[in-house]
Each structure stands twice: as structure tokens, then as C-alpha cells.
């Protein structure tokens, strides 16, 4: 894999297939990029697992922190590493000891370790480096276009509804007057004349 530029289909394939994401270096401090990304991905339906030995016993948006990848205790589809480049290799080595192996190892914006990437790719793990999954999700869903960002995608198809679509809504304010509808009056007149 060329790690300088990724085809959109590679990134899209990853974000469409993974379900659980362990975020190594997740922070409960709500101005840290890891917190933003964690929250955003959780809201998009990913099963998020915060990994940070410094916060064991606490939780992040209701998800308990675990100290290490080995402590997660269930299969993980993707590991998102929020550490800088010099701390990548030990995390990847730990990931390679997991069974089953993760399908994807993702290194955050600014983080890149080509040797660690090569080790993971050698056992069939997909690797993304120096990207943010929140930004990529926002870009490929074109949600990020609201911020004037170049999504580098085009489409002539109707955009998906941002929510679940129109639903019968029970919490609309009623203004009354419905009983004077013409059909009601017709029906009423009928009974009156017969």
C-alpha cells in the first residue's frame, strides 16, 4: 500500500466494514482531538473502546477505559492509535499478539511509522497512517462539506437524508381547526339532511 495517498475506495471500504474500534490513547479531556474523534465515531454507530492505562476505572461517554489492547477481551476490528510516531511500534507489536488479529490498524493525523506498517501488512492487516477517521468519515459522507472542506468527491445522486427520513411525528404542535375541514362539513351536512 502506498501510504502517501490512499484511494477513497480503500478508506471507504475500511470505514464501511469495521464495527468495533479500540482507540489507543483516547482522552476523556473534551478538547483533545481523540475525544472529538471518539465521540463522533460513537455517534456514527461504531462500537468504541477507549484504551488508556491512565484512566482505568473511569469511562468515556459511558464506555469503560481498558489499560491495554489485551484487556479488551473480545475481537477488535480496528485499532485507532492516537499516539505520536515514536510510540507506534509497541502498540502495533501488541496488536499483532491479539487473537484474532485486528483487520485494520489506523494511525492518527501526524503519526506515521512505515516499519510498523510493514509488520502489520505482512500478516494481512490493512494500515492507514497520518489520517483521522473522523475527518475521513466526514469527507466521504460529504458531511464535512458543511465546513467548506474539499471532500474530493462528486455525485449527481440525491444526497441521503441526514436523519432517518420523514416519520410520523408525535411531538408537533397542533394549531386546531382540523374539525372544520371541508370533508367533515360534507359528511356533517349529509347526516343533517337525511
Amino acid at each position: 500500500m502506498n501510504h502517501d495517498t490512499y484511494p477513497d475506495n480503500y478508506i471507504r471500504g475500511i470505514l464501511n466494514s469495521v464495527k468495533s474500534i479500540a482507540m489507543v490513547g483516547a482522552s476523556p479531556v473534551n478538547v483533545r482531538p481523540s475525544y472529538f474523534a471518539f465521540k463522533y465515531l460513537a455517534e456514527r454507530g461504531y462500537d468504541m473502546i477507549p484504551v488508556n492505562p491512565g484512566y482505568v476505572g473511569k469511562s468515556l461517554l459511558g464506555k469503560p477505559f481498558v489499560a491495554s489492547l489485551a484487556d479488551v477481551g473480545r475481537p477488535i476490528d480496528m485499532i485507532d492509535i492516537f499516539r505520536n510516531s515514536s510510540h507506534i511500534m509497541p502498540v502495533v507489536e501488541e496488536a499483532l499478539r491479539l487473537s484474532p488479529l485486528p483487520k485494520v490498524i489506523w494511525m492518527q493525523l501526524g503519526a506515521r511509522d512505515d516499519a510498523a506498517a510493514a509488520k502489520a501488512e505482512a500478516v494481512g492487516i490493512k494500515v492507514v497512517m497520518n489520517r483521522c477517521p473522523k475527518i475521513e468519515y466526514g469527507r466521504l459522507s460529504s458531511e464535512i462539506s458543511w465546513m467548506g472542506v474539499n471532500s474530493r468527491t462528486l455525485s449527481a445522486k440525491r444526497a441521503p437524508m441526514p436523519t432517518q427520513g420523514m416519520r410520523l411525528s408525535l411531538n408537533r404542535m397542533s394549531v386546531g381547526g382540523g374539525q372544520t375541514a371541508a370533508s367533515d362539513r360534507v359528511a356533517k351536512n349529509k347526516t343533517e339532511t337525511t
Partner: protein, 426 residues
């Protein structure tokens, strides 16, 4: 969609726009609203905290404006853009992210007269100092660099004389100095020149000109190339340091290669306030759809008119970079092979008086202070756009007293030539 990069004309029509999810509307709707409802308190908080992407209030962002932003970012090859109320607003918002009182910007002496005013007077009152350099002498940029320099500012094709700037040479000076290169690409548009390909870190436009293209709407835009590392030293604290207005977020760390555009939005536009009307954004978007067609016609017409004037007995000289032998012809061939733009100047043998009578004799050319309209335009810069400069500065910026500026429209070129001919003879 595959990863094949679409062509310029396809981007000009499609980038940023998608049929409306609610109604299926194919043209971009005008979201003429001040504000947007939140789903709940948590959603509101996460939008205000920059944790979610979304709309809050039209001073900070608007869905119609966002289509324009993505469209121009795509055409320029940038990572993101921010639309604002005018070209001048774009310049203030950009520099507010970079400059503190006592800092310096190096600016090309050949700039739109309004920009020269803005830099000299308005920016001086902010404590931002400008060092002028001559784009015809690259060393003058190098000499102007000091420890206080925060940016270099040039026009790709300069107003009024249509001179072409050696962007790559000046980009090299900026890189060496460790400061971003800002290029005002108004007169070239990305159809003719893409400054980011030549080393620009930030591109600004007056959308009022060729991008809108129809002389009906003011607008400006800032494009982030995503190329500059704002955090490598502590020169750019707006991007590299925790921002108190957002609970300590560091903008570059959080937004990566589109951090500059975000800073312009959430620190610049939000607080300074020059928001673009969604209606103007719609008009400008519609204009951009035909940019490639119009720009080529503008350039072809301009070349024909320049050639005609160069051969006219009443004309002393023509400054059009598209003419062989022009001082800037080599730079035009390198940077703008499709055409040297449609704004240029010429001087008359009859001097100032001949210029004044030419303007009044013209029938098709409108006498007004704008460029980049579908209609052909004429003005005498020395008494209008550049009138606040002294004579020496007028000459240096290409607006000597005997100079007339044309902005050639997309009419039939023979009609333009016939009109000029009768006006020069009258």
C-alpha cells in the same frame, strides 16, 4: 465514483453540489436563513465546541456558501475554503490569523489599488506593517525578510496592468523565510493559473470579478492549500496554541491540513463578521459553472483587442502579457498558457486628455470601477482606483496618469474593436 480526478469543467459544474436530500432540488438551494435548529442540547454543545460538523448560524457557515467553498477549493486544488463578503474581507480575515501588532507582511508593489490602500492605511492602524517589494526583482522580496515577517502577499496576474508574477520564485523566498505565500488569484482565476501548483500556501479571491463573472454580486474567498506547517515554531499561535475561545483546542492539531480554513472561519469570520449572503453565494456559484467557457472567451477577446490597439496610430503602448514581445510574455507562457487574462492597460499618444475623451466616446464599454464582468469595462486608474497613490507609486503599480485600463468582456470581439476604433478616431 472512482478515484480518477475529474477535469476542470466538470468540477466547475459539480464540485460541492449534490441534489438536495429533502426536496431533490438539483440547483443548489438558497438557504436564506440566519440560523439552524439543533437536535438537542448535546448536539448544540458539540457544534459550538467544534466537535461535530454542522450548521449553527450563517455568520459562521451556511449550506449554500459551503457549496461555493467546496467548489472553489476543488478548482484551486486546495483542502478547504471559506467564503466571505468581499475580496477585501478575505484579505483581512487571512491576515488576522497570521499577524499581531508589530508583525510585518511583504507585499508586491503591483497590487490592486484598493489592496494597496488597505495594507497601507487600514492595516497600519492594526499595527501590521507592510514592506513593499517589486515582483520584477525577486531579490527585493528576499531583502525585505526580517524576523517579524509573517507572510508574503502577491497577485498572480496583477491589477491593473495585467503583469504576470513569477509565483515559483517568490514561493521559494517564502519557503526559505519559513512564512506562507498568499496569492490573490482574482484576475487569473484557477482556469488560467492554479497558484497552489506553483507553491502558494493560501489563495484569496475577490469573487466579485471573473469567478462570479456577471458583475452582480460581491464576494471573497480564502483557499487553504494544506501545505503549511503552522506548528513548527511558535510564529502562528492562532493555529498552534490552545485557543481560549474554544476551551483550549489547538486548531492545527485538531483539523490537520485544513486548519487554516477552519481558523479563518471560527476565529476570523466568527469574530470579525464579514459573512457572505447566501443569495450572493448562489449567484456566484451559477457564474462559476460557466467559468471555463467565459474565461477562454475573455482571454481570446482580450488578445484580439490588444493586438488591434498595438497596431493603432493613436496608441503609444499596450501592456498585455499575451502579446509576443511584452515584458511579461515569457511568464505568461509559463504560468497562463491558455491566455493572459482579460485586464490590461494601454497608454495613448495624446496622454491624459486623450484617455479622458476615449472613455467618454466609447459606446459599448462601460465606464466603471470593476473588472471581470461579462461586459467590457474601461477606467482611468490614475483618477479612480489608484487615485490615492502619489505619482511615483502610481507609476510603480502600473497606473501612470496616461494609462487606460480595460477589462474585456465576452461580447463579439469585432464589435469591441469597432467601438474602440471609432472612439480613438473621434
Amino acid at each position: 465514483m472512482t478515484d480518477r480526478l475529474p477535469g476542470f469543467s466538470t468540477l466547475a459544474v459539480h464540485a460541492g453540489a449534490q441534489p438536495d436530500p429533502t426536496t431533490g432540488a438539483r440547483a443548489t438551494p438558497i438557504y436564506q436563513t440566519t440560523s439552524f435548529v439543533f437536535n438537542d442540547a448535546d448536539h448544540a454543545a458539540s457544534l459550538f465546541g467544534l466537535q461535530s460538523f454542522g450548521n449553527i448560524y450563517t455568520r459562521i457557515g451556511n449550506p449554500t456558501n459551503a457549496v461555493l467553498e467546496e467548489r472553489v477549493a476543488a478548482l484551486e486544488g486546495g483542502t478547504a475554503a471559506l467564503a466571505v463578503a468581499s475580496g477585501h474581507a478575505a484579505q483581512v480575515v487571512v491576515l488576522q490569523q497570521l499577524m499581531k501588532p508589530g508583525d510585518e507582511i511583504i507585499a508586491a508593489r503591483k497590487l490592486y489599488g484598493g489592496s494597496i490602500n488597505q495594507f497601507t492605511h487600514a492595516f497600519k492602524s492594526f499595527g501590521w506593517n507592510v514592506a513593499w517589494a517589486d515582483p520584477d526583482e525577486i531579490e527585493s522580496f528576499e531583502r525585505a525578510v526580517t524576523p517579524h515577517t509573517k507572510a508574503i502577499f502577491i497577485e498572480s496576474i496583477a491589477n491593473p496592468a495585467g503583469s504576470v508574477t513569477d509565483i515559483e520564485a517568490i514561493a521559494a523566498v517564502a519557503r526559505k523565510a519559513g512564512v506562507p505565500l498568499i496569492v490573490d488569484n482574482t484576475l487569473a482565476t484557477p482556469y488560467l493559473i492554479k497558484p497552489i501548483d506553483h507553491g502558494a500556501d493560501i489563495v484569496v479571491h475577490s469573487l466579485t470579478k471573473f469567478l462570479g463573472g456577471h458583475g452582480n454580486s460581491l464576494g471573497g474567498i480564502i483557499v487553504d492549500a494544506g501545505t503549511f506547517d503552522w506548528s513548527k515554531d511558535n510564529k502562528y499561535p492562532m493555529l498552534s496554541e490552545p485557543r481560549p475561545e474554544y476551551h483550549g483546542i489547538k486548531i492545527q492539531e485538531t483539523f490537520g491540513n485544513f486548519a487554516f480554513a477552519i481558523a479563518c472561519r471560527v476565529l476570523g469570520l466568527r469574530d470579525l463578521g464579514p459573512a457572505l449572503s447566501p443569495f450572493n453565494a448562489f449567484m456566484i456559484l451559477t457564474g462559476i459553472e460557466t467559468l471555463p467557457l467565459r474565461m477562454q472567451k475573455h482571454c481570446d477577446n482580450a488578445k484580439a483587442v490588444a493586438e488591434f490597439l498595438a497596431g493603432h496610430p493613436a496608441v503609444a503602448s499596450v501592456n498585455y502579457a499575451g502579446l509576443p514581445g511584452d515584458k511579461y510574455n515569457n511568464l505568461a507562457r509559463k504560468y497562463a498558457p491558455k491566455g493572459a487574462g482579460a485586464v490590461f492597460t494601454f497608454s495613448l499618444k495624446g496622454g491624459y486628455d486623450a484617455g479622458v475623451s476615449l472613455v467618454s466616446n466609447l459606446q459599448l464599454f462601460s465606464h466603471l470601477a470593476n473588472v471581470g464582468d461579462t461586459r467590457s469595462l474601461v477606467i482611468h486608474p490614475a483618477s479612480t482606483t489608484h487615485s490615492q497613490l502619489d505619482d511615483a507609486a502610481k507609476i510603480k503599480s502600473g497606473a501612470a496618469p496616461d494609462v487606460v485600463r480595460l477589462s474585456i468582456g465576452i461580447e463579439d470581439k469585432d464589435d469591441l474593436i469597432t467601438d474602440l476604433d471609432q472612439a480613438l478616431r473621434a
